[in-house]
């Protein structure tokens, strides 16, 4: 599939670029990239998401697995500043309105109604339940949590076990965003090695590798993914399963990268500077690593950025079906499993929020990748439209 482009390059910006002749390639690319406003916004969102992924324990107000039978399907609460209640008095401070549970006497269905008497205060850098940052550093303080240690609040609502969706989405960000990175890293190793060999050596090796790539491309990805993940033993630990799933995703995903790398190799092989290096007696290894690799790096970075969202969607789909990651691991796909039947989503539409996170992540990675791809060739006069 040819990924679409953004077309946000401003036509007059070419005249603003200072000192084009004497700038390095990376600098030129940075200037070209900056002109894509949408790509820059996408990049900022991607960086934010990876920041959230890195400090998930600190940013989440509650532990993702802590349940609360009192708050099953608790609706989302809006953070507010001014309060005026009978019990907690009135004043100014970050809080959410408390909800009280009511049971319909006829249908026995639980409903939550705002409680005008009470509010739940939120404070920054307060002590919450203890945790270990990255499983190593013991800490207690969280970015924000309930001021009163016994209280709970639900910015994104609660699931069927009363777990805080906001904290769970934050932890899901860690797994979902990194599974894309790890998967792409594996795919990159496979793709660059095979694509590089294929493109540099040519001849019979090239033909064999190309037939192999064609075979992998011809296989229907989703049934193969499903088959492979169904074959994973059920008793593996969550972490083993995480790496097994990334390996499965990259087994299918490396072909696109291999094609990009091979194409660039074929294009570069006869460039003057490569021939010059070869005639100069440089070893094959040096020609590839020192002379050819740098001029391919930008294209590879672009393909990698565009491959990550595909991996994220694949992981989400697999976990959604119950074939990917398993609870207690939390990913966006695992969270969306809760939204699988119509009853629960009509009762608790906030179970869709992980889906919004998927769309946000995929969208911003796509925009970023498009921007990088368009900027990857800064010497071309006309940007492809």
């Amino acid at each position: 599939m040819t990924a679409p482009d953004t077309n946000t390059a401003l036509p007059e910006a070419a005249t603003e670029i200072p000192d084009v002749e004497h700038s390095s390639q990376w600098k030129l690319m940075w200037w070209a990239f900056r002109r894509h406003r949408v790509a820059v916004i996408g990049g900022v969102i991607v960086l934010t998401l990876y920041f959230v992924a890195a400090f998930a324990e600190f940013l989440a107000p509650f532990a993702p697995q802590s349940t609360s039978s009192q708050n099953v399907y608790h609706p989302p609460q809006m953070p507010r500043l001014f309060y005026d209640t009978t019990y907690d008095g009135s004043g100014f401070g970050l809080h959410v309105r408390a909800f009280s549970r009511e049971r319909d006497p006829f249908t026995l269905q639980t409903t939550y109604v705002p409680d005008p008497d009470r509010v739940i205060f939120i404070s920054f850098f307060a002590k919450g339940t203890p945790y270990r940052l990255w499983g190593l550093i013991p800490m207690e303080r969280r970015l924000f949590t309930a001021s009163n240690p016994g209280d709970r609040f639900y910015l994104f609502g609660a699931d069927r076990l009363g777990r805080d969706m906001y904290s769970r989405v934050i932890f899901g960000t860690r797994v979902s965003m990194t599974i894309g990175l790890v998967g792409v890293a594996l795919a990159l190793i496979l793709g660059v090695t095979l694509g590089g060999i294929s493109g540099y050596l040519g001849g019979v090796t090239d033909a064999v590798i190309q037939r192999f790539v064609e075979l992998v491309l011809a296989l229907p990805t989703i049934p193969i993914w499903l088959g492979l993940s169904a074959a994973l033993p059920q008793d593996w630990s969550p972490l083993t399963r995480y790496f097994a799933i990334t390996a499965i995703l990259s087994l299918v995903g490396w072909t696109e990268l291999a094609r990009v790398v091979r194409g660039r190799f074929l294009a570069l092989r006869n460039e003057d500077f490569v021939i010059a290096a070869r005639l100069d007696g440089a070893t094959r290894r040096r020609v590839i690593l020192r002379h050819m690799a740098p001029s391919m790096a930008s294209h590879i970075i672009a393909s990698v950025t565009l491959a990550i969202p595909l991996m994220i969607i694949a992981e989400t789909s697999l976990s959604f079906l119950g074939l990917g990651l398993q609870p207690p691991m939390v990913s966006w796909g695992v969270l969306l499993r809760e939204a699988q039947n119509v009853q629960s989503i009509s009762q608790a539409p906030w179970l869709f929020i992980p889906g919004a996170a998927v769309v946000l992540g995929v969208l911003s990675l796509n925009f970023l990748g498009d921007g990088i791809r368009d900027a990857a060739d800064p010497y071309s006069e006309v940007q492809t439209s």
Binding site: M1, T2, A3, P4, D5, T6, N7, R211, E214, L215, L217, A218, L219, P220, T221, I222, P223, I224, L226, G227, L228, A230, A231, P233, P309, I313, T316, S317, F320, L321, G322, L323, L336, A339, Q340, V342, I345, S346, P349, F352, G355, V358, V359, V362, L363, N366, F367, T384, S385
Partner: protein, 328 residues
């Protein structure tokens, strides 16, 4: 020249078929324990008497104590004769289960393909001609959302909207009274009443990407001198557009049709599961989850074969459309 190309392409696809069937069989074999064990477990679960002799006969028939390659040969020679083995969960030969479901899958994919083309191509052309206008930006934004939203998520949202706002259940392909009924005109009409929503859901992401590709292709063509020449000669804008640049921009679509079709069938698996459609996808998934391996293997094999045939058709079409391919 063209015939020679087609001949070689056909010859090439034979090893592909064998590789694909090997992969499908390896997937069947991958889970721990042989399938007779899981069959016995299923039987015991449903309270049936587990007949040791019957199990032994099954092991014998599929050569389970023999090496992998022998088992594969037994399986593939059965498949060649149309015998896909038996489904343990359904207690029926696999071949009785799959064909109607595959048929509905193909119908759904065909509908989606037609929908995609009918929507994406005009919108792509419009978006290219009205480049950088408000409507172009709106279409671009919708297109990007269509690409970023997994199909199954859209299906879930649609089901939510239908249940909460219209009180309607949009899952399935038939109304209750037609579910087990034999095919009739009334059943077909009933199918048409239900199939449009899955088609729209499945079509959204491919519509989005096709629209973008059409736009990009057409924009490349619109700047070429022959367009200017035609315009200078006074050809009306619409005629000018349709007669030359659109035709050239369409080339890649014609050649990818064979490739897009199987992609649609296997891509529909998850959405079909969410909407509980009676197509191949949900049955494949169920078979995989309950380790009903002959059923799963038959589906995976059929889907692989469809993909390979699709690639073959694409390559041949491409050779027809673009003569340069044949000389490579």
């Amino acid at each position: 020249m063209l015939l020679g190309y087609i001949f070689w392409r056909l010859v090439w696809s034979v090893p592909f078929f064998f590789a694909a069937s090997l992969i499908a069989f390896a997937l069947i074999q991958a889970p721990p324990g042989d399938f007779v064990t899981s069959f016995a477990a299923t039987l015991a679960q449903s309270g049936d008497v587990v007949d040791e002799q019957r199990l032994e006969a099954l092991r014998e028939r599929y050569g389970l104590d023999r090496p992998f390659l022998t088992q594969y040969l037994l399986w593939i020679s059965g498949v060649m004769r149309g015998d896909f083995g038996i489904s343990f969960e359904w207690q029926q030969p696999v071949s009785q289960l799959i064909w109607e479901r595959m048929g509905l899958s193909v119908a759904l994919a065909l509908g989606t393909l037609m929908f995609t083309w009918a929507v994406a191509l005009p919108l792509g052309i419009y978006s290219a001609v009205r480049k950088y206008t408000v409507s172009d930006y709106v279409l671009t934004t919708v297109g990007f959302f269509g690409l970023a939203m997994p199909n199954f998520l859209l299906a879930l949202v649609m089901m939510y909207v239908a249940v909460v706002f219209f009180g309607a259940d949009v899952s399935g392909l038939f109304s209750e009274e037609y579910q087990r009924a034999p095919w009739s005109w009334a059943k077909f009409v009933d199918l048409l009443k239900h199939i449009w929503l899955p088609i729209a859901i499945l079509g959204l992401s491919s519509t989005a990407s096709l629209m973008r590709i059409m736009r990009a292709n057409l924009l490349d063509e619109l700047n070429k001198p022959y367009v200017t020449t035609a315009r200078a000669k006074g050809v009306s804008e619409f005629r000018l557009l349709m007669k030359y640049p659109v035709r050239i921009a369409l080339n890649p679509f014609v050649s990818t049709i064979g490739w897009a079709f199987p992609q649609l069938i296997s891509g529909a698996v998850i959405t079909a599961f969410v909407l509980s459609l009676p197509t191949a996808g949900p049955l494949l998934l169920q078979a995989l989850l309950s380790q009903d391996m002959f059923l799963a293997g038959a589906f995976i094999l059929l889907l692989c074969c469809l993909s390979i045939i699709g690639m073959l058709v694409s390559d041949i079409l491409l050779a027809f459309v673009d003569p340069r391919i044949r000389y490579r």
